[in-house]
Symmetry: C2
Subunit: 209 residues, 2 copies
């Protein structure tokens, strides 16, 4: 299969971690977002939505959106399970993943894309240009601070976001916390649980991607 | 199990359709969002995130976010499958569901919550108040028009959003298209595929909820 990546971007990093955890052989094609290659004809023929990550399967099926890539990989390569083992765990992993995506990753994206001079008119990913909204950048920063507090509280007494093992909820939280540095938000001294959890994961090989 | 619903809101409608499709017995507790009951102590003890839908299982586990409820129900009550049958279908259903959620449902929510006088300071769901951003309402409307065009093009020659059967991608698209009327966006005459697809689903019992 062919993995369409951009090595500097947080969204494809989620898929990179998945491919590493599942140890799935794949070719990599780098799409340089800084040069706008996602809008070029070549990549548009792969994903008309003009977003990475994308995963082209051997039968030609193209999967887009992290959710799509994750659901396929979990089904086709079940070990190690990243979306939960039991019915209940599956519900909790998906619920927490959604909370982290909306409350954390989307907040960083709002803060960055609506303020960076390099992202003028690129307030959203995808094929269409949208103007920056400075108030949305401010709101993203405020939401991100709340998210760090909430996640820190949740991690009290826990080694992982859900259950007793590493799941997609940890992957999303790691990518969010690492990515947040780009808008100068990081764990503060009082975020003891968050700092302990991230430190415990520091040596996990899949997270070095 | 206990289903925390609000019969007038689009987000819990997604879970209502799931429970009807899977024919899962459940009690219903109505949370009146117009009266702010989601912020009250009673519901906050169930879901500190103050959002519906939520599903409390018999063992006391509370699942929040539609993604969490869907993942649990698909695992515990596999028939009929709503998240895809094969590896590839699972990837496509999850990918399309994500696209419809972000490009469609979120666009309606942005348009409504950032413009309605009834939703002052309720630009986002959840426990925290956020001021309306008029530019975000405008952007939501523009995105929604693009989404209708995109979905109409995708439905050319298709009876369902993904594969040859009804899935979560259809549920999301139905809830989005129906909900869009609240911001006065509806399928236009040239959206022939979209109109045909919605008409074909008109008699499906689960969609009457």
């Amino acid at each position: 299969m062919i993995f369409y990546d951009c090595s500097t971007a947080p969204s494809p990093r989620r898929a990179r971690i998945w491919l590493a955890e599942k140890n799935v052989p794949h070719e990599i094609v780098q799409i340089d977002l800084a040069k706008g290659e996602q809008m070029g004809e070549d990549f548009r023929a792969v994903n008309p939505g003009c977003t990475v990550p994308a995963l082209k399967l051997d039968d030609g099926t193209v999967l887009t959106e992290n959710a799509g890539i994750n659901a396929y990989l979990e089904s086709a390569f079940p070990e190690p399970p990243l979306l939960g083992r039991t019915h209940e765990e599956k519900g909790l992993v998906a619920g927490w993943s959604s909370k982290i995506e909306v409350g954390g990753l989307l907040a960083v994206a709002e803060a960055l894309r609506n303020s960076s001079p390099h992202m003028k008119d690129r307030a959203l990913t995808g094929a269409t240009n949208y103007a920056q909204i400075p108030e949305l950048a401010e709101r993203g920063l405020a939401r991100l601070q709340s998210f760090f507090d909430m996640l820190n509280n949740h991690l009290e007494g826990r080694d992982y976001v859900v259950a007793d093992h590493f799941t997609n909820a940890d992957i999303l939280a790691v990518v969010c916390v690492d990515f947040a540095r780009i808008v100068k938000v990081k764990a503060q001294d009082h975020h003891e649980n968050l700092i302990r959890w991230r430190t415990q994961l520091a040596d996990r090989p899949s997270l070095s991607v």
